[in-house]
Amino acid sequence: MGQNKTSDKVILEIDNLAVSYGHVNALKDVSLTVNEGEIVVLIGANGAGKTSIMETVLGVNQVDSGTIKFQGKDITNKPADKIVRSGMFLVPEGRGVFSSMSVTDNLLLGAHHNLKGSKEKMDYVFSSFPILGERKDQVAGTLSGGERQMLAIARALMSSPKMILVDEPSIGLAPKIVNDIFEILVQLNSEGYSILLSEQNVYKALKCAHRGYVMETGKILLSGTSEELLNNSEIRKAYLGA
């Protein structure tokens, strides 16, 4: 898989972030950055806090302390609809497509804040994902898991984002489809989208990402380039079974 040239310009900057759900401290002192044009992967077991980071960045969770900056602007505790408007979109864990609604309606929901040019955007996603074009009048509930994942990604594209957060896209998909999805992400990245990815499929994720962060119980344990992480002996032991 090819890798896009990245810049040093930071697009997302998280500093000392803490988030809790009632008494559960889900994130403790998390700091990370994503540069423009990068794919950065969050690695961690179930409950490590990957989804919490993504949803907090998107403005869904209340921040206890710390700051989040997107494209140089402070977006800490801003509402999700504002953050989406500013160019960020989440591909949720478990796809989050609306099963009773048609493929077309699902796509248009991605462009809800700006329907201007949605016709062209729709043509663009149908040319990238022909299968969605064939199924455009079907309700999303009738799609296969892989097609739903594509729909969730295509819906993100409909919002004309600068940055896409992709939460565990490989969950529940056959290895061949997982490869397809990762290829799509690399392709999108080469078109200029910055991507923050979360994965438990560590090897494949690191193969397509530029850098990664390893999380455990709400903290960042380790970070480095994909190559460094792939060669790290602890990671090899813990995640790669070597």
């Binding site: 949803e55 998107l58 869904v60 509402p79 999700a80 609809d81 953050i83 989406v84 408007r85 979109f89 989440l90 949720p92 989050g96 497509v97 609306f98 099963s99 009773s100 609604m101 309606d105 248009l108 929901l109 991605g110 809800h112 804040h113 329907l115 819906r155 919002s159």
Partner: protein
């Protein structure tokens, strides 16, 4: 046969009123995520507001209609922050506590109507609004239709069609449906949940206000207890059809209207409520989740 047809037509008019009320209730349930079973009480409140303005303006129909419609919209928008406050505080959909709020609002309105307006006596709407004095609006033999019945049916059809158009063909409707299916998922795609919820309050206010005017024309009168009585029916229709099921509400609402009209035509008007509830009881015993299934 002619009696049958006449009663079915009357039933459809009454049924249109039920459909409008149930649809408003279901929309609030689906989009604003509240159980507002006092919604019909708000509608009756709007009938009273229309009546007051009619009295003050020497039966100016335009102002009376405007007062009825706008008071329902205003009431909904003014009470929306209270409902939304509960939702925000809990950080999740909490239908139970919205029910208590709705009940409270309903009691306040009913008490207000029975103490402070017309000394609690039923109110009657003027003939120039109801068209009573003019006789039947349409007549073929035994089959006749009052102006109210005709308006209720046509406006009912227009509004329900318009509403389905709005839900399935517009951007707002798409957001409504998304929130109805999965409020959490809707938040994650950046839909403005509270703002869209507020739009649904305004829309149901408009529906409710228009229904109030139709009821004033069709029934010709109102009493403080009318809201509670309708509230029970609307809740029952909605549950029997399947909570939140708009198409189900359409069918069951119309059926209830026809059923009541047939009982009135062939038997006795005084028993139509009891009989309607007996049939609804049977329906809910057979299909506890509603005939057409819940859509929540």
């Amino acid at each position: 046969m002619e009696i049958f047809i006449a009663q079915v037509i009357n039933g459809l008019s009454l049924g249109s009123i039920y459909v409008l009320l149930v649809t408003g209730f279901n929309l609030l349930l689906l989009v604003a995520m509240i159980i507002h079973f006092s919604f019909p009480v708000v509608v009756v409140f709007s009938m009273y507001m229309a009546w007051i303005v009619l009295g003050l303006t020497g039966n100016n129909i335009f102002l009376g209609v405007a007062a009825g419609i706008s008071s329902a919209i205003l009431f909904n928008i003014i009470t929306a922050p209270m409902f939304q406050h509960i939702m925000k505080k809990r950080g999740e959909v909490d239908i139970n506590s919205t029910m208590v709020l709705s009940m409270g609002l309903g009691m306040i309105i009913t008490d207000f109507l029975s103490h402070s307006i017309n000394s609690g006596f039923p109110i009657a709407f003027p003939d120039n609004l109801t068209g009573r004095a003019a006789g039947p609006f349409i007549q073929f033999g035994l089959i006749s239709m009052s102006r109210g019945a005709f308006l209720a049916l046509t406006v009912g059809i227009v509004f329900v069609t318009g509403l389905f158009w709005l839900l399935y063909k517009t951007k707002q409707g798409r957001a409504f449906r998304a929130i109805a299916e999965d409020p959490n998922g809707a938040k994650l795609v950046g839909l403005p949940i509270l703002k869209t919820g507020l739009q649904s309050y305004a829309l149901t206010g408009f529906l409710g206000g228009s229904t109030a005017i139709l009821m004033a024309i069709l029934l010709g009168s109102a009493s403080p207890g009318l809201g509670d009585q309708l509230g029970h029916k609307v809740l029952a229709v909605s549950i029997i059809a399947g909570l939140g099921n708009l198409k189900g509400g359409l069918i069951v609402g119309l059926s209830l209207g026809i059923l009541e009209a047939l009982v009135q035509g062939y038997w006795t008007g005084t028993w139509s409520n009891a009989i309607a509830f007996v049939i609804m009881l049977i329906a809910i015993l057979v299909k506890p989740k509603g005939i057409f299934g819940m859509k929540l």
